[in-house]
Symmetry: C2
Subunit: 209 residues, 2 copies
């Protein structure tokens, strides 16, 4: 069976990457959203096991020590990680997996030489990013300023990624993200060579034609 592909989506907070990734899995078949482990407090409406696996720092650090994470990083004072076993289980079954992770986590995956497509999501401008963070009403002014400073540093890393999507209109950005996923499936490195060879008798002698 053909293995699934890994798509890594990074963005400064407030660029809308989580919404984008969740909407994608609803719009495109055969792709699931990887659920991260985090030590951050659940926000209103977030559900353990659906949005994140919420764990305390002790448990998190034990999992780090046991090598259970493919990548992990501290972001704005909270810890985030991707489970190695869960990810590879899914791609072994032929399912594509989308990971929304920060740039440190993405860099760890890149350094490990794991075959993945790296996508960077940009806000339309820093001013719009600021407005979005304010309207989200989940962060204090101090946290927002810290996030904006961090955002600018992170955006400086966009050249490390394979694709760049500007999230101005969510529908347009969703269509663009979908195109990246779909085109990856059509790429010569991912097509079903067995099917092509059988269907067109490329190696068989004495075909009808």
């Amino acid at each position: 069976m053909k293995k699934g592909s890994i798509f890594i989506v990074s963005a400064p907070s407030g660029a809308g990457k989580t919404t984008l990734c969740r909407r994608l899995t609803g719009a495109v078949p055969r792709i699931v959203h990887s659920i991260s482990y985090t030590t951050r407090q659940a926000r209103e409406g977030e559900v353990d096991g659906r949005d994140y696996f919420f764990v305390d720092e002790d448990r998190f650090m034990r999992m780090v020590a046991d090598g259970e994470f493919l990548e992990w990083a501290e972001v704005h004072g909270n810890l985030y990680a991707t489970s190695r076993a869960k990810l590879f289980e899914m791609i072994q079954c032929g399912t594509d997996v989308i990971l929304d992770i920060d740039i440190q986590g993405a860099a760890q995956i890149r350094q490990k030489g794991i075959d993945a497509t790296f996508i960077f999501v940009l806000p339309p401008s820093l001013e719009i990013l600021e407005k979005r963070l304010i309207s989200r009403k989940t962060d204090s002014e101090k946290v927002i300023l810290r996030r904006l400073k961090k955002a600018r540093e992170e955006i400086g890393d966009y050249m490390q990624y394979d694709y760049v999507i500007v999230n101005d209109s969510l529908d347009v950005a969703l269509n663009e993200l979908g195109s990246v996923v779909l085109s990856r499936r059509l790429h010569i490195s991912h097509v079903d060579h067995e099917w092509i060879k059988e269907t067109f008798g490329l190696e068989a002698a004495g075909s009808k034609f």
Copy 2:
């Protein structure tokens, strides 16, 4: 100004590449269909300067001698070519161009090291290809058999291409071709780095944030 990209679409005759390319330019902005020169007779409904530039063999061979073609090939007894000047004019203006050309022409463009995305369109099966050629009613039985034999040889070359699209449903194939074009525009090699640097002040000191 950012240059346009070149997309090369090849397929065995009857796989539907011309219809697909024409539909694409109607569905996706900023992409035009390159008009080939040919010595083939115009089919019913075909218009000179819209579907092809219809020329006689003398004129065609003079253009070959004058180096006016980027690629040219004989396909089923007729000559086909792409004008070098017309193609580069369009991409200089920032327009993407889609060329539907046969595998010999595609190979010439590849050998010249021209930056292009190569897409191979497959029929769902040889049996369906045969039915399509018969229902087109433009070819004699002898020509159809020759086209089918050629098709199988040509399909053997699909590994030389970057992307493979199976044209079973035209709408699905059109969406897939659109995804390849769109994702190419989002690729790090094609994004507008100047805009990103200006918008996020990546090289400027003393930003607001």
